[in-house]
Symmetry: C2
Amino acid sequence: MSEAALRALNPATNEAFGPAFVEPDAAAIEAACVAAAAAFDVYREIDPSARAAFLEAIAAEIEAIGDELIQTAMAETGLPRPRLEGERGRTTGQLRLFAQVVRRGDWIGARIDPALPERKPMPRADLRQRFIPLGPVAVFGASNFPLAFSTAGGDTASALAAGCPVVVKGHPAHPNTGELVGAAVRRAVAACGLPEGVFALLTGQSHALGGTLVRDPRIKAVGFTGSRAGGLALMRIAAERAEPIPVFAEMSSVNPVLLMPAALAARAEALGAAFIGSLTLGAGQFCTNPGLILALDGPDLERFTAAATAALTAAQPHVMLTPGIFGAFEQGVDRLSGRDGVKLLARGCVGDGVNQAVGALFEVDAATFLADEVLGHEVFGSSSVIVRVPDVATLAALLERLEGQLTATLHLDADDAELARGLLPILERKAGRILANGWPTGVEVSHAMVHGGPFPATSDPRGTSVGTRAIERFLRPVCYQDIPDTLLPPALQAGNPLGVARAIDGVL
Amino acid sequence: MSEAALRALNPATNEAFGPAFVEPDAAAIEAACVAAAAAFDVYREIDPSARAAFLEAIAAEIEAIGDELIQTAMAETGLPRPRLEGERGRTTGQLRLFAQVVRRGDWIGARIDPALPERKPMPRADLRQRFIPLGPVAVFGASNFPLAFSTAGGDTASALAAGCPVVVKGHPAHPNTGELVGAAVRRAVAACGLPEGVFALLTGQSHALGGTLVRDPRIKAVGFTGSRAGGLALMRIAAERAEPIPVFAEMSSVNPVLLMPAALAARAEALGAAFIGSLTLGAGQFCTNPGLILALDGPDLERFTAAATAALTAAQPHVMLTPGIFGAFEQGVDRLSGRDGVKLLARGCVGDGVNQAVGALFEVDAATFLADEVLGHEVFGSSSVIVRVPDVATLAALLERLEGQLTATLHLDADDAELARGLLPILERKAGRILANGWPTGVEVSHAMVHGGPFPATSDPRGTSVGTRAIERFLRPVCYQDIPDTLLPPALQAGNPLGVARAIDGVL
């Protein structure tokens, strides 16, 4: 496979800049995986406090890069300074939150069922269980969060927290940002005296790079944030391995927003304006962008639509992350514009720069939406479809037909409670997070967050890629039966030297 | 696909008996899945105490069948009465243990991150998380545990405990046993006032039945215990669905047993005799049957081998579960007998009945074993291979080459501790359970048990199919953001009416 050398591209000017990146070859990929496998047994058994200190050291090293990181990311992504400064804080905060989790040790899941030598008819052996990490993890960062979902983003932080060495496939949309962060992680590895193989960054643009990485037998799990096509390709490769491995891909979601009648009657105009604020934030380049509005037809919906139309018409264009993403957005908008029964309500202001997303708002009736699967597919960027629903039964039917989602949102007042109560079971089956009276963009990094959901929102609904439960994706339980105390891992020894929480006969 | 009607077969006589079973057609399969989906939202939200009472009612109904269940299972499987009586106790005990787990409510995983309205620069919303069940589960029971791993076995019990309706594909090797248990579950469903769709049993023998069931879009997960080929086929079907779903397949393991030098020196003869006891128990028809012995070559290993040879030569034959399993066992033994460098050490006594497994014990050197992948494949039944290992380095290399296992066993004395310490990290990477000074057959149903492990022991190393953690396979987290208290599920309401354990800002 022959490709031009990778260089960074400024999407605001279409100009390449910075050094050329040599595509890692098969030997380089294998070397990274060999080193990761060699580091695994050491890294997974260092003291939890040492692992936590390592995560904190990564955060400090990222901060120590200083403004060069922000300026580089701005040039490579077109994202504005405040957004990137906020994202840096999210990235370092995420690493420090996982450090807390690692120190507390609940993720070890220690369980002890003591021996029952006198039990009849059969004695019970001494059984002890803990979680251990899966092994080296391949992480595929996202283009739209060059810090928080990339080189040292959520997947990397949670895999390292679990005790897994990480090999990152660096995203070609922000190679210099990635290398700056990668070097920061390597400095933290060295400063903490860890084996080099704990972390590697392979920056490149070929599909072969990602495929070779996922096929490597030393890789035991994959974290991915990106497109549905990309996630499906990795799922296929992982399933076809001699040893299939789990893939945690966060892929595709239109994030339905339901405007309930009383809420709509009370504040249609305010909802319309707030909707466009969420839709156009960051050029709509969020997994949780509100791409679908559902509401009962009538004058209140007209007021909402009018307000949204006015707000979008005045909305300024935003440069998108890459020419490829911009092209796909334009294609998506054109595809929607051309479907039968779809009405274009509004576009945003047109700018004079390149790669600038001009927001798009469409409207369809429920029958059209139900008849045309394409209308429910994600268009990555500021594009949304309002569905006019004739009655509650149709609303429920429409929700049942939706694919899996990262989020579902209800705007509701007290008088909407009974209707909402009837729809919540459907939303629970469809989405990983259900919001009331907010907008799905903005994903808190905390203990109770779920950034996941049924396929195609993710490849595995049992995980989350944001929040502290993300660590659980990379762990598996091991049982120790009658193993002498001196050979047991510390968390399971009689003296509990780590002081972790342990369930004895199922009770903490 | 045309097949003769299914009837039970007595493997001790090769005689068919009992009623003919009509193969469920596509309409019957769909009807079961439709009913399961319709029951899901009701069943998953009944009070935990009601769900626990249902599991206990199933146990009581199974006991109420009385001796007919044991006699039927004896006739269909060739397993002896004490074994089946014990297995019945294990099955009902398992249901009652899951009832305790359901009542305690830890599986709900309730987490609350309270709102921080004053936080700068951005306030935090109120975030609450709980686990909900995945949806209807298809369960494929095993032939070798007609009660504990079949119709109302571990997968069914854990899926029902999680709140998932279950559609069982009844095993054709024990159709009447399955129907007796299925009727017991249906009586419990009716007695507890639950929707009929909470449980269905589809007994048949065609591959089409299982494939159609797994392809049904209403099925959201699969539990399977059986052969590697069968598990791989279901994994493929599940991955090719429009909505891929998780498959928890427990498939294949040779369960390596390491005889450490000091232990071998101290008690070679006793170990040899005990090994053959474990190997021939139940005709070796256990997932955890010890199919591979690894030891350093020398006079102590000779003593072990001599004792094992003597014990196996005197071992009585056992009737196997089905003619098909018997045939596969014979083929597996023939295959091993014919490999270069493999020496047949002993066979058990030959009986005069049909389908009788005659145990087989082989010996190879480490170089032969390392060069021939086939020698590491499972032969289901009383067949095992002793590998003579020249040195510790070769022992480690050999362990590294093994596929994933359900169990790994060490026989060790105090003087073996340092050698064991060096090998344990490899065993942790290879197996779900590590035992000292015991035999892997016999799997306790408890909180700390792991009956799982890396592929091909299972399709997903993050789960266990025995023990209370089995419930976690069928759950996924959902986050509720700013949802009004009256609309929250009880476990997350401010008043905590269920009284479940909840983590507030990550602390229980």
